[in-house]
């Protein structure tokens, strides 16, 4: 492994933060503290973690409806995420967004979207800015297999390719879009192979292996920073919970399949690897686990005690000046 222990432990911590935060959000949803949508990232933690490990705060991430993990990995504090889903002013979007509209531009979390597709184009646009401004910043679009059949994928990748924009297109292929299998929505399920159509490098990695993701991302980010253009990275992974909280999760995938993937839990696998190969003591991981548990507990309390938005602000900020 090309990373030192500090980095490895921080990867571990990020994944655990995402996991614990999602578990908490699922509980809070069941308890009625969260309304509307709540798509958890459980099972896919290695992707956001591996990619964002190499991003600077001034790099830009554009994510989807399933964006809690990306927000956390990019540096949004868990309390601001939880407060957002609780609809409080202290949330990262002042409570205006909820689960599908997370914005924290100060840490380069440029938004999640309730619509499949636009974030692919927006990341391309951030790449355009970074190129025009002659910086070495990079942008990242995360999207699901469900985004691949969408015109935004085609148009965004093409634009990034012809203009050699510093953008990473990270497809989290979890094999389903809601209940629709990717093998139904596409005859060619090899997403990475699509890159060739755009004259762009494409690579497929095990999305449950945080180091594999991190390595692929590192290479792509270096290329982008050097002005050598975009990369498509397909991360093959799985969500082990239902599509969204409150939705039934049966019928479209077998219990066996779900269990197989649960057995490939990215956090457990990484922990095992760390303990095996990196002379990291179990205590170090346990300490992280404890710290994270405390952090989430504190975050829920923070969110719960945060104020609701003032209804009179409902039309603030529609335009850049004035109400």
């Amino acid at each position: 492994m090309a990373f030192d222990n500090e980095v490895l432990l921080s990867l571990y911590r990020t994944m655990v933060v995402i996991r614990r935060c999602e578990e908490q959000l699922a509980r809070s949803y069941q308890a009625g503290a969260i309304t509307g949508a709540c798509h958890t990232y459980i099972g896919q933690e290695a992707v956001a973690t591996g990619v964002c490990a190499h991003l600077r705060v001034d790099d830009a991430v554009f994510s989807t409806h399933r964006g809690h993990g990306h927000a956390l990995a990019k540096g949004v504090p868990s309390r601001e995420l939880i407060a957002e889903l609780f609809g409080r002013t202290t949330g990262c979007s002042d409570g205006r967004g909820g689960s599908m509209h997370l914005f924290a531009p100060d840490v380069g979390m440029m938004g999640t979207t309730g619509i499949v597709g636009p974030n692919i184009l927006q990341a391309t646009g951030a790449g355009y800015s970074f190129q025009l401004l002659e910086t070495d910043r990079v942008s990242v679009a995360f999207f699901g297999d469900g985004g691949v059949g969408n015109g935004a994928f085609h148009e965004g990748l093409n634009l990034a390719a012809i203009w050699q924009l510093p953008t990473l297109f990270v497809c989290e292929n979890n094999m389903y879009a809601t209940e629709v299998p990717f093998s139904y929505a596409a005859r060619n399920t090899d997403v990475a192979s699509r890159a060739a159509g755009y004259g762009m490098p494409g690579i497929a990695v095990d999305g449950n292996d945080v180091l594999a993701v991190a390595e692929a991302a590192q290479a792509a980010i270096s290329r982008a920073r050097a002005g050598d253009g975009p990369t498509l990275i397909e991360c093959r992974t799985y969500r082990t919970r239902g599509h969204a909280e409150g939705m039934q999760d049966g019928g479209y995938r077998t219990e066996e399949e779900v269990n197989d993937w649960k057995a490939r839990d990215p956090i457990k696998a990484f922990a095992a690897r760390l303990l095996e190969r990196d002379a990291i003591e179990p205590q170090a991981l346990e300490q992280i686990d404890r710290e994270v548990a405390g952090q989430i507990e504190e975050a829920v309390e923070f969110a719960t005690n945060s104020p609701w938005p003032d209804p009179d602000t409902v039309t603030d900020h529609i335009f850049s000046e004035g109400g």
Binding site: G36, G95, G97, G98, G114, N150, E179, A186, Y252, V314
Partner: protein
């Protein structure tokens, strides 16, 4: 009579028409085996098979454009958008193709496409899943736009929509889906452009859209007690619009308020207001008033979301104000 929910009523109409006409098919995400995110097609996959209930990839433009071509060649597509917000990505296919092809072919081709989806705020789904947008389609020539509010109307207007050779937007407000009401078992149609008088009254005419109908009804007794008698009209279809019915009512009351949770500017309320003034200037005892949600995106947080939609107190106040003008 039997009671059904709004969703059941619309589904019954769709099922019956699909039995009647083998050329009807449905496209959408999760409308196959899953039966639709909003249970619009529950049980249909088994009943009508995979070619008539086809799950799609997430490519709204693509499958709407596909439906245009299908309608041009003899089949009758139904697009189930789930949340109507997703229709926006197919706007070019709608405004430039589906709306225009009958005209451009001088009627040699028909365009029997039903576009259905759930509208409106109130479920905490925030700004990408709370839009209405019907006024935009009423602005464009070539569309029928219906916004039923009762199970009875949902069934009747769905049947009419499916038998029409024109493109129809069939818009279902999320807050109405589980409401119950009497629905005949036999099929029946409700003509486009026929409003329904929900409550008769003498002092103020209120035209209310979607869930604003029941919100207004809820304050009518209180207003009556205070001496204000409200005539409440549900237009049901926005294009064509039954201005005649509204005009008749305003001729009696002399006062008109239009209540619509969607955006005010260039909205259906503006159109009704302008038309009624054009027709009934001398009958009006006060200016036509509009009550809309604020002109902004729908925020997520419950207190903000409530503030983004006219609530009963505001409705009552607006009626009182108008009665006093």
């Amino acid at each position: 009579m039997r009671e059904l929910t709004y969703t059941e009523a619309a589904r019954e109409a769709l099922g019956a028409e699909m039995e009647r006409d083998p050329n009807i098919f449905v496209l959408g995400e999760g409308i196959g085996k899953r039966g639709g995110n909003f249970n619009t097609t529950t049980g249909f996959f088994e009943r009508f098979g995979p070619r008539r209930l086809r799950d799609t990839p997430i490519c709204e433009r693509g499958f709407v454009g596909l439906c245009a071509g299908a309608a041009m060649t003899g089949t009758r597509p139904v697009v189930d958008f789930m949340f109507i917000d997703f229709i926006l990505d197919s706007f070019g296919e709608l405004a430039n193709q589906i709306a225009k092809i009958q005209y451009m072919t001088s009627g040699r081709l028909k365009m029997p496409v039903v576009l259905r989806g759930c509208i409106g705020a109130g479920s905490g789904h925030a700004t990408h899943h709370s839009g209405s947008y019907y006024s935009i389609f009423a602005h464009l020539p070539g569309f029928r736009v219906v916004v039923p509010t009762t199970p009875y109307d949902a069934k009747g207007l769905m049947t009419t929509s499916l038998r029409s050779d024109d493109p129809v937007l069939f818009l279902e407000h999320k807050s109405l889906l589980n409401t119950r009401g009497d629905v005949p078992e036999d099929d029946y149609t409700i003509p486009f452009g026929q409003a329904r008088v929900c409550r008769e009254g003498d002092d103020v005419t209120v035209v209310a859209l979607g869930p604003m109908v029941s919100k207004t009804l809820a304050v009518c007794d209180e207003l009556a007690a205070a001496g204000i008698s409200v005539e409440l009209i549900d237009p049901r279809s926005l294009a064509p619009l039954d201005s005649e019915a509204i005009f008749l009512s305003v001729s009696q009351t002399g006062r008109l308020l239009i209540i619509d949770e969607a955006f005010g500017p260039c909205g259906i309320g503006a159109e009704i207001s302008a038309q009624i003034m054009e027709r009934g200037f001398d009958q009006l005892d006060a200016p036509v008033r509009r009550l809309n949600g604020p002109h902004g995106p729908t925020p997520f947080s419950p207190p903000l979301e409530s503030a983004a939609v006219p609530q009963p107190e505001q409705i009552a106040q607006a009626i009182r104000n108008l009665a006093a003008e």
